[in-house]
């Protein structure tokens, strides 16, 4: 991938075999796509491993970006 962000096909995600999926979301429930059958092929979805990141901290570049990185590190370490 050359672009910093892109919409990719599901097959590419399955091939990368992620253990965790980070979702920019303020809600506490896993995203709706997790219930779709074709997404069961993704390991993180099967295991229910979602990092739900609140938008106020993770969605805005600014002085609190450092806090965001610390929090992400702490949550990944758990």
């Amino acid at each position: 991938m050359t672009a910093p962000s892109a919409q990719v096909s599901l097959e590419t995600i399955v091939a990368r075999d992620p253990h965790w999926i980070a979702v920019l979301s303020d809600s506490a429930v896993p995203p709706a796509f997790a219930k779709r059958r074709e997404w069961r092929a993704v390991r993180a979805v099967r295991d229910g491993h979602f990092l739900l990141l609140p938008g106020s901290l993770f969605g805005r570049p600014g002085p609190r970006s450092g806090d965001a990185i610390l929090q992400l590190r702490a949550r990944l370490a758990r």
């Binding site: 919409q7 096909s9 097959e11 399955v14 092929a41």
Partner: protein, 313 residues
């Protein structure tokens, strides 16, 4: 001979779409791979079923309205389905089936309106009025769709845009099963009407002298083709050109007999869409193109060449 060739092409298109993809799956692991079983196989089958349905619906509608321009989406169904889908996206309706159901309802609403417009004096279905009504209802629905899209947020707009050009990325065994259970009914109705469809080419009056129950055939064919298209558009969005180009190509080889034309259009449409979807998934991997873009890019040049030969000969 030509049937063997067509079946070979169809099987080849299906095989290609299972073997090729953005992720490299070694041939030795092909049969055990999760990617193949859960993603590529249902997607290939769905593409084949949808393409075949669009091909048959297009061939029957061209015979019904006796107009070579007819395609499954000319009669306003794409407008209605698009409006339903965009409404579902804009209203944040959730659930895996919200979008297909909304699109299906939108297509049925357009179908009902066009059908009502086409019924003259409450009984007789006029193909010319059907065409005009279809174009008008389609344009009206497209106007509302554009209004909603232009007022929606950027992310939603992108979703809606992708959907309006067709895509099979939502394919799963559930959607394959749904289409495989639903599509055979209208397909059988259309195939059963193949003899009267042949007669309709002579004009309605001659067809009725030759023993066809013209009014019943027209209603049946219109409803069956539209219901088939509504299901296709619900699971895959608006995929253009398959229903227009494939019947014409099939007619060049198989002639005007619908008994053989309709099965040929099914296999040809399925092969074309399976092949187009393989390209849509792989040429810009890991991203995807809307499959309607690919069918247009393949379909139109092929069609132009054939048209040229056809008019010279």
């Amino acid at each position: 001979m030509k049937w063997t060739l067509l079946v070979t092409v169809a099987v080849l298109a299906l095989l290609l779409s299972v073997v090729l993809g953005p992720a490299a799956v070694p041939l030795s692991e092909l049969l055990r791979s999760d990617i193949v079983w859960n993603l590529r196989a249902p997607r290939a089958l769905l593409a084949f079923l949808v393409g075949g349905s669009l091909g048959v619906a297009g061939a029957s509608l061209q015979a019904l309205v006796r107009n070579p321009l007819a395609d499954p989406f000319l009669l306003g169904l794409s407008g209605g389905a698009g409006l339903g889908a965009v409404l579902a996206i804009a209203l944040h309706l959730s659930g895996p089936w919200a979008l297909p159901i909304a699109a299906f309802i939108g297509a049925l609403a357009a179908l009902g309106l066009v059908y009502r417009l086409g019924l003259i004096g409450g009984a007789s279905l006029d193909p010319r009025i059907l065409l005009l009504g279809g174009v008008a209802i389609g344009a009206f629905a497209a106007a509302i769709t554009t209004a909603i899209v232009s007022l929606a947020d950027a992310a939603e707009l992108r979703n809606a845009f992708l959907w309006l050009w067709g895509g099979l990325s939502g394919a799963s065994w559930d959607s394959v099963l749904l289409v495989a259970l639903y599509a055979p009914i209208p397909l059988a109705v259309l195939l059963a009407a193949s003899r009267p469809l042949d007669l309709l080419a002579l004009g309605e009056e001659s067809a009725s002298y030759l023993g066809a129950d013209v009014e019943r055939v027209k209603r049946r064919v219109y409803l069956a083709a539209s219901l088939l298209t509504a299901a296709a558009v619900a699971v895959s969005g608006v995929i253009g050109f398959v229903g227009l180009v494939v019947p014409h190509i099939a007619r060049l080889t198989w002639g005007h007999r619908h008994r053989s034309l309709l099965p040929a259009a099914f296999l040809g449409g399925g092969a074309l869409l399976a092949f187009a979807d393989t390209l849509a998934r792989t040429v810009v991997a890991p991203r995807e193109l809307p499959v309607g873009v690919v069918t247009a890019l393949i379909g139109v040049p092929v069609f132009a060449v054939l048209l040229r030969r056809w008019t010279i000969a």
